[in-house]
């Protein structure tokens, strides 16, 4: 397609230019789709005062893999925007919680569907939207609502990203992506919301045209950098989650 190659030789190079103060989205829901290798590279790169966007700051599951919480612990983060600042099980404690409670890091807690829609809106040029989610709760206090056809809705604003870090199963050199099963989750919407989308790819990157156009999940127009994940131990791969109690 006459594009310069989007392929990068290393995770280190692919995140080298990320400046302090960037807003970065991280794909992933539980293990699938989490860009472990890019998170690790960003920890080594050291950018600071970052705003992180993702489902959860992580750290409740064992074994622990690179997650947003590790960037927090590494002193790189000013704010997180996510659907969980605490674990679903009250007995679990997220490593992030103490940074939040001490005021060291700011957090914006957003219902998961609202979070996804705010990024879809950013990618689709919609500045804000109304949703029934969170009406009547503490999250809606003092915010703009509107009654439409007899039902109350809450105004939510689009959420733009400077960078999206995502993981896919297959990519071609143009950046067309396919995901495997639940790996997809937030990855496609984050790609549309970001100025620069960086993808870690499970399989060797294919020549353009190798993925049938009808089978592409995310168009390469939303993808800027591709890196194939090497085999272990150089690359990080999802591991079996340890089941706990009952």
């Amino acid at each position: 397609m006459g594009q310069k190659s989007k392929q990068f030789g290393s995770f280190r190079e692919s995140v080298a230019d990320i400046p302090d103060g960037s807003t970065i989205g991280f794909g992933g829901f539980a293990m699938p789709g989490v860009p472990f290798n890019l998170i690790k590279a960003l920890m080594e790169q050291g950018a600071k005062r970052l705003t992180l966007v993702g489902n959860t700051t992580g750290g409740a599951q064992q074994p622990r893999m690179p997650d947003m919480g590790m960037l927090v612990e590494n002193g790189q983060v000013a704010k997180v925007i996510c659907a969980f600042t605490a674990a679903t099980r009250p007995t679990d404690v997220l490593p992030f919680t103490k940074y939040y409670e001490s005021g060291e890091v700011e957090a914006e807690l957003v219902p998961q569907g609202t979070l996804a829609e705010r990024m879809r809106s950013a990618g689709a040029g919609v500045p804000a939207f109304y949703t029934p989610t969170a009406v009547g709760t503490e999250l809606a206090e003092g915010r703009e609502t509107r009654v439409i056809n007899g039902r109350e809705y809450l105004l939510e604003y689009a959420l733009k990203l400077d960078y999206a870090f995502i993981r896919a199963r297959t990519a071609d050199s143009f950046g067309n992506l396919r995901f495997h099963r639940a790996q997809r989750n937030f990855c496609p919407v984050m790609a549309t919301a970001a100025t620069c989308t960086i993808v870690e790819v499970d399989e060797p990157i294919l020549p353009a045209g190798a993925i049938d156009p009808d089978d592409v999940h995310t168009s390469g127009i939303f993808v800027h950098r591709l890196i194939q994940v090497p085999a272990e131990p150089d690359g990080l791969w999802p591991t079996k989650r340890q089941e706990r109690r009952r």
């Binding site: 998961q112 569907g113 829609e117 009547g136 639940a182 990855c187 079996k240």
Partner: protein, 224 residues
């Protein structure tokens, strides 16, 4: 494992799964609700939706079936049924927000007699864990809750009013606990079925508001 009376966690899920009607699209939340997908549902055919965009999943995967990239809302590895599909997160919540989910089953800390429920934030906690609960609670056609009947300290979870921050107001239609099956009635709870080994007096003493007992009260039905 704390000492509990009445039904096991799987039985609480099994009882709830009996309510699902043929053809329903069913969303199961993290914790006990995901156990509904292990229930034998006989000849009824419905579709499980998980908030991460997996539509048409089956039971928890055995080690041979396991795909580490295929998880339910609780992050457990699950199987797919024939006809399954996957969508991204914004579309998954468009399904939810668009009113296409027939029922969502969630866990909770408290349910009130007016159908409010609380499941995202504990008392005095800064922040919390909302996940997809507020979207589901506001937009699914029905909200069913599964929870243990009393707190670890023995206090009620079916209460006159939630004293924890609510997830949504006035939406809960049915509650399955280890003590029985309940419906919020506005001024209390209707006990529809009672768990073996429990008495109505015991339930009344551990339930907020006025307890109404169904005519010809039966023990909890666990299969059709």
């Amino acid at each position: 494992m704390s000492e509990t009376k009445g039904l096991t966690r799987q039985q609480m899920a099994d009882r709830m799964a009996l309510e699902f009607q043929d053809g329903w699209i069913v969303n199961l939340g993290v914790g006990i609700p995901t156990m509904c997908s292990n229930t034998d549902t006989g000849d009824r055919d419905f579709t499980y939706h998980s908030e991460n965009g997996v539509i048409g999943y089956g039971g928890v995967a055995s080690p041979e079936e396991e795909d580490l990239l295929l998880v339910n809302a609780g992050g457990q590895n699950v199987t797919l049924k024939p006809g399954a599909s996957v969508v991204h997160h914004a579309d998954s919540f468009a399904i939810i927000r668009g009113g296409h989910i027939d029922v969502t089953v969630m866990g909770a800390y408290q349910v009130s007699m007016t159908g409010d429920f609380a499941n995202w934030k504990l008392k005095g906690q800064k922040g919390g864990g909302i996940g997809g609960a507020m979207d589901l609670a506001a937009c699914a056609k029905r909200v069913f809750i599964i929870l243990e009947h009393v707190t670890r300290a023995g206090g009620p979870r079916l209460v006159t009013a939630c004293d924890l921050p609510v997830t949504a107001r006035g939406v809960v239609k049915l509650v399955s606990t280890n003590y029985g099956l309940f419906e919020p009635t506005g001024d209390g709870f209707l006990l529809r079925e009672i768990a073996p080994g429990l008495t109505v007096d015991e339930i009344r003493a551990t339930t907020g508001g006025k307890l109404t007992v169904a005519d010809g009260l039966k023990t909890v039905q666990l299969s059709r």
